[in-house]
């Protein structure tokens, strides 16, 4: 029994030491008061809890609290209050406890204060009255924390923005592709049309049949060159490095019209004799080959360029 009493005394002693740093001592050693705030640093959009604790040895009704005012606060608003009584046996000794909790919310950034509270109480056994004061508490009000869901609007906005950008990009790309395809189609159509014109022009540049002293053999070489290049471009065939008989095979494989193949061979065979036999060729032969080639170029342009065809026919 003696040991229990010593233990209780030691417990109360250490308990009183722990609180002593926070509590304001009253006139009577029987009640101890302590004040604390959790947390000490509170964001502007959050709350802190200020706790005033009264504690004494004995029964709960040993003392009568005659005055307990709400604390005075600066830069804070009390938004909630609560109180609780508690009786506890520590080391065989009964301890009574009363807690008053104030939930406060800061008004603005900076420092906030909870002034000391004056507590008056009376000892029911002796009838004496006492006065206590709690310590003044300081709270630091810091920048508000982001509220959950506060960025949702931003995410939605960014999503909309991103979707819009993607949509704009896709639309522009599709339009660019269409424009490019149209441009290519126009270009292709233009080049198809101009192929015959191009080689017709080249033929006229290479051979001028009006020249009285025209070298017929050399002219045959140039004529065959124009024809080979034209057919190579038209059918995408390696006709530049092909012999006359190979030209026939290549054109047939490429699906060229029989009449075109026949005309081609007529020109190239005449040209081969002129180019390689060493014998002087007749001018009439050159004119015949020229007319065949001109007809090939004119025939090909006819479906697309009626005016030019008509001019040639004239």
């Amino acid at each position: 029994m003696r040991i229990i009493r010593i233990a209780a005394a030691i417990a109360i002693f250490f308990s009183s030491l722990g609180i002593s740093s926070l509590q304001a001592q009253g006139e009577d050693e029987g009640i101890r008061v302590s004040a604390s705030a959790q947390p000490n640093e509170v964001p502007l959009n959050r709350t802190a809890v200020v706790t005033i604790r009264l504690e004494w040895a004995g029964d709960l009704d040993r003392y009568e609290i005659t005055r307990f005012d709400n604390p005075l606060v600066e830069n804070l608003n009390i938004i909630e209050t609560a109180s609780a009584n508690q009786v506890q046996v520590v080391g065989g000794l009964q301890v009574a406890r009363q807690e008053y909790q104030y939930t406060v919310k800061p008004d603005g950034l900076g420092m906030a204060y909870v002034d000391g509270i004056i507590i008056r109480y009376a000892d029911r056994e002796t009838g004496k009255e006492y006065r206590l004061a709690s310590s003044r508490l300081e709270l630091k009000v810091v920048d508000p924390l982001p509220e959950p869901g506060s960025y949702l609007w931003l995410v939605i906005l960014l999503s909309i923005l991103l979707s819009s950008l993607i949509a704009i990009y896709l639309v522009r790309r599709i339009r660019a592709r269409r424009a490019e395809a149209e441009r290519l189609a126009r270009s292709q159509a233009a080049s198809e049309v101009s192929l015959e014109q191009k080689y017709g022009e080249r033929l006229r540049e290479e051979i001028d049949l009006r020249q009285p002293d025209l070298d017929v053999n050399a002219a045959f070489g140039r004529l065959a060159g124009v024809l080979r290049r034209y057919l190579a471009a038209k059918y995408s065939l390696p006709l530049i490095s092909a012999t006359t008989s190979e030209v026939r095979g290549l054109m047939a494989e490429a699906g060229a019209d029989e009449r075109v193949i026949a005309d081609t061979l007529a020109v190239l065979e005449s040209a081969d004799i002129a180019k390689f036999s060493g014998a002087a060729q007749m001018r009439s032969e050159l004119e015949r080959a020229y007319t065949i080639l001109e007809g090939m170029l004119g025939t090909d342009t006819a479906p697309r360029g009626g005016a030019e065809s008509a001019k040639r026919d004239d």
């Binding site: 012999t243 036999s277 060493g278």
Partner: protein, 329 residues
């Protein structure tokens, strides 16, 4: 310069009359192989020796024998073996005990047509003796030099698949052959005809229908076939493309060719194309003739690199690319 092409044409018509006879006679024995027969005639007309390469059984030897039988001329076949000696080909000096002097014993090379069968079976000294005679067209036995008869044509065969125990011809000696033919298999119908013809009791024989003089006259006519400077330039372009492919837009071949064709290629290409034109009864050479004969003239003259071999690119692939790239006149 105006060439009397009509006169040349008439001469060629006249001198080439034997071609049909000889072709018909060889055709009695040989089925198909038109490519080989035509090339043999080109060699005969252009005075160029021919190396025939092909697997056994493709009638290489039989074709040469049939050709020689169709010409009233001397024919000798020499089977090259590892123990053959140069004297077995060119001849030797024999001591005559009665007279106490040496007499000359001419070898089988003293013939108009010589078939050197499986030439790569004999050592280099024997090959050299033959190839020297081919080049010089004369043989020295003892102190005396003997000219070889005209026409003189060597047709050598070799088998590409059996390399063990053979003596491959050096590039310098292969270069002395005007054409190297790659003899292929007959097609299905030809194979049927060969089978039927060769299983008969009476095997067909070719008769002599052409005299050596006709061949010599034809050779003269071949020399007269007109070759235009444009065609000559085309030949030189093709040969130069084997040496400097980059200048002809063939950059991809630069690392594949170790050595390009020699000037002999240009000479033989010109001669063979004339002979080809002659066989076509034409008095002038066209690019068709060049394209037709170029592979046979060039395939053994373009030496490919190890890189090309590693990539399984043959000399024929290289020549084919060149022919297909160089612009025809």
């Amino acid at each position: 310069m105006n060439i009397d092409i009509q006169a040349i044409q008439a001469k060629i018509e006249r001198e080439s009359a034997f071609v049909e006879k000889i072709t018909a006679e060889v055709g009695k024995v040989i089925v198909g192989q038109n490519y080989m027969i035509e090339r043999l005639l080109i060699g005969l007309l252009a005075d160029g020796h021919i190396l025939l390469e092909g697997v056994p059984g493709l009638a290489k030897t039989m074709t040469v024998k049939a050709l020689s039988a169709a010409i009233k001329t001397q024919f000798q076949r020499i089977q090259f073996t590892p123990d053959l000696l140069p004297a077995d080909i060119v001849g030797t000096m024999i001591y005559d005990q009665k007279n106490g002097s040496f007499s000359t014993k001419k070898g089988p090379i003293f013939s108009n047509l010589v078939l050197a069968d499986e030439i790569n079976r004999s050592p280099a000294k024997v090959q050299s003796a033959l190839l020297e005679a081919m080049q010089e067209r004369q043989v020295t036995i003892g102190d005396t030099t003997f000219p070889l008869p005209a026409p003189f044509l060597v047709l050598a065969t070799q088998n590409p698949i059996e390399q063990e125990g053979t003596y491959p011809l050096p590039e310098a000696q292969v270069d002395r052959f005007m054409l190297k033919l790659s003899v292929g298999y007959p097609d299905r119908n030809e194979e049927l005809e060969i089978m039927r013809r060769m299983t008969r009791v009476d095997l067909p024989q070719a008769s002599a229908v052409v005299s050596p003089q006709e061949i010599i006259n034809a050779r003269r006519a071949v020399h007269e076939v007109y070759i235009d400077p444009k065609i000559e330039n085309y030949i030189v372009d093709i040969v130069f493309a084997t040496r400097k492919p980059k200048e002809y837009g063939l950059d991809e071949l630069a690392d594949l060719i170790a050595y390009g064709a020699s000037p002999r290629a240009s000479i033989y290409l010109s001669m063979a194309s004339k002979a080809h034109a002659f066989l076509s009864r034409r008095g002038y050479v066209t690019p068709e003739d060049i394209r037709s004969i170029a592979m046979d003239v060039l395939r053994h003259r373009v030496i490919i690199t190890y890189e090309a071999e590693a990539e399984e690119i043959s000399a024929e692939d290289v020549v084919r690319k060149i022919i297909n790239k160089v612009e025809v006149p």
